[in-house]
């Protein structure tokens, strides 16, 4: 008797297991794809060119860039998670104002936290901290991904996009700080506390500040070079891969190479 009952159970559980495994594999590949998209292929700073205003305005030093990057990261995760949680109850017609309110709530939290714990950095970032509300990268992710996907994926997407954005901010900040003042991590103690003041590195001993690198035009020029480097790497990779012999006519994409 027992065996008779057990056999169909086993027979049943095998396809269910397979299904579960297939689901897990799909989930894993989706997470992988999310990470790849956020960090490189669809990077908010380099490819989507979203959130250029803070990207260019506050990246004069690594500290400022890191501070703003962390703040954006936190807001992005929080807003993506919240938007994903309430996605079934948000009327389509008024979703944008609701997203903005959610983002604004998180920005307020982050701003108050930074005001409390990293006051110097809070002052250095100034208006660009509240301006995270208008960062298109955040509302773009809420609209494009979080409002259509479950909580875990949406949060992960927020994390990856946030890290991608933060990396670009930090790289740009490093370039501009080295060229402009010849230092790295100047004023990092404002963000990490007094123990971090030893992190400051004098890379170059400049007699004069190179003001162009510190001023916004320098950010534009450095950003242009970063995008050029990214595109060069992409085309190198594409060159190295064997070309699949397809003869289908494809639509020409003019703005970005997301597929």
């Amino acid at each position: 008797m027992t065996q008779e009952v057990a056999t169909p159970e086993l027979a049943d559980s095998e396809p269910a297991d397979n299904e579960l495994q297939a689901q897990r594999a799909a989930l894993k590949s989706e997470y992988k794809e999310l990470a790849w998209q956020g960090l490189w292929k669809n990077n908010p700073g380099l490819v989507q060119l979203l959130g250029l205003c803070p990207l260019l305005a506050v990246t004069a030093t690594v500290t400022n860039a890191l501070g703003l990057g962390l703040a954006t990261l936190l807001v992005l995760i929080g807003s993506n998670a919240t938007v994903s949680l309430i996605r079934h109850w948000v009327p389509k017609e008024i979703r944008i104002p609701i997203f903005v309110l959610i983002i604004a709530a998180f920005v307020t939290c982050v701003q108050l936290l930074m005001n409390a714990f990293t006051y110097g950095l809070y002052q250095a970032l100034g208006i660009f901290l509240p301006l995270i509300v208008t960062n298109c990268a955040i509302i773009g992710r809420a609209e494009a991904y979080a409002s259509k996907n479950p909580l875990a994926q949406a949060s992960f997407d927020g994390l990856m996009m946030g890290i991608g954005f933060m990396l670009i901010l930090v790289v740009l900040g490093a370039i501009r700080e080295v060229l402009g003042q010849g230092t790295l991590f100047d004023g990092i103690e404002l963000l990490l506390g007094d123990w971090a003041s030893g992190l400051r590195i004098q890379v170059l001993n400049l007699d004069n500040q190179f003001l162009l690198a510190i001023l916004p035009p320098g950010a534009f020029i450095a950003m242009g070079f970063l995008i050029a480097i990214k595109n060069a790497i992409d085309s190198k990779i594409a060159e190295r891969q064997p070309k699949p012999e397809e003869k289908a006519i494809e639509r020409v994409r003019v703005n970005f190479d997301a597929s």
Binding site: L211, L212, P217
Partner: protein, 353 residues
């Protein structure tokens, strides 16, 4: 017997880019000579440095872009850009200013936008503005005319000052700029601006030695030299007449109005014409065929706008001279000017539907 029928144009010009560029470079000689006579060897050294750097930068970028190197390298445009930049720089500026400016002009302003013919901005002026914004101290340490300096400045001293910041006797740039009476000498434009800011009238201000007997000691002859070169270019039909004429006329109108309303607070037209970079800008910078306006009407608007901007920035702006800024702003406006001053196509009516 067969008629060989060629389509128009029947009159071919044999002009080449390199020929035109060479002509413009030759035309700068009187101005450079005046600079050498009144200010010494500084600008010549800077021109040499700038040309060398520009050629190296051009070679490097052209080989990166896989362009035909020998043809584009020696078409003279990079050399001309470097010469113009070298003329504009303060004579005693350190050597890395020239190198940096020349690199920026060639690699970023010219080649990154696609090389000769595609640059939206005048490379020499964009580099000058970049230097002025980035290194205000070095870029405003102008050398006074040799006749006012208390230290003898020969070729060797100039060279060591540019390379090390000190003459062979150990005078710094700041000491070189100091008058024998102990105050720092600025350019005429700069001194006039400061004096008016401090409540002096123009008539009181121009009694200072930097103004000389006429309008501005040394500078007036440098400007006259560039005017001469410009007239030579006009005679050879290398540059259009419309741009410099409307530029100078626009400065004339602006300064004349200002001078007749308030002669104590505004310099005369001749002062505006013969100090700073006015003539260089009028004949050598604004007439750049790439970054300027295209039609004759457009060139008139372009020059007039530049003259107006020069006057406004000289009078109200934070920097003493304004030609570089005015040129860049006009370069930005050039496509719009072209859009609205499109000449009537032959055979079409004036009114567009």
């Amino acid at each position: 017997m067969a008629f060989w029928i060629a389509s128009s144009p029947h009159n071919h010009t044999q002009n080449q880019t390199s020929k035109l560029m060479r002509l413009v470079i030759y035309a700068t000689i009187p101005g450079i000579f005046a600079q050498w006579y009144f200010f010494g060897w500084g600008n010549l050294i800077h021109i040499g440095l700038a040309v060398a750097t520009a050629l190296v930068a051009e070679f490097f970028v052209l080989s990166l872009r896989e362009q035909p190197i020998s043809k584009q390298l020696f078409d003279g445009s990079a050399i001309l850009t470097a010469v113009l930049l070298g003329i504009c720089l303060p004579a005693l500026a350190p050597w890395w200013i020239t190198v940096l400016g020349s690199l920026f002009a060639i690699a970023i302003v010219k080649q990154l936008y696609g090389g000769l013919g595609h640059n939206p901005f005048n490379p020499a002026m964009a580099a000058y503005v970049m230097l002025l914004v980035s290194f205000p101290v070095q870029m405003t340490s102008w050398q006074p005319p040799l006749s006012l300096m208390s230290v003898e400045l020969d070729f060797l001293n100039t060279l060591t000052t540019i390379l090390t910041g000190f003459t062979s006797e150990g005078y710094s740039v700041e000491q070189l700029r100091t008058h024998i009476d102990g105050y720092t000498m600025a350019t005429p434009l700069d001194s006039l601006k400061n004096d008016i800011g401090q409540g002096l009238t123009v008539a009181e201000s121009i009694t200072k030695p930097v103004f000389g007997q006429h309008f501005s000691l040394g500078w007036e002859w440098v400007n006259a030299g560039f005017l001469l070169g410009g007239l030579f270019l006009l005679a050879r039909k290398a540059i259009p007449l419309a741009t410099p004429l409307s530029f100078l006329a626009s400065i004339l109108v602006c300064s004349f109005i200002a001078y007749s309303i308030n002669p104590d607070g505004n310099a005369s037209t001749m002062f505006h014409w013969l100090s700073g970079a006015t003539m260089l800008g009028a004949f050598f910078i604004l007439t750049d065929p790439v970054s300027g306006a295209t039609s004759t009407k457009g060139r008139i608007v372009f020059g007039a706008l530049a003259g107006f901007l020069v006057f406004i920035i000289r009078k109200f702006g934070g920097y003493p001279d304004a030609v570089a800024f005015a040129v860049l702003l006009c370069n930005m406006a050039a496509p719009l000017i072209d859009q609205y001053t499109r000449p009537r196509t032959y055979g079409h009516s004036v009114k567009q539907p």
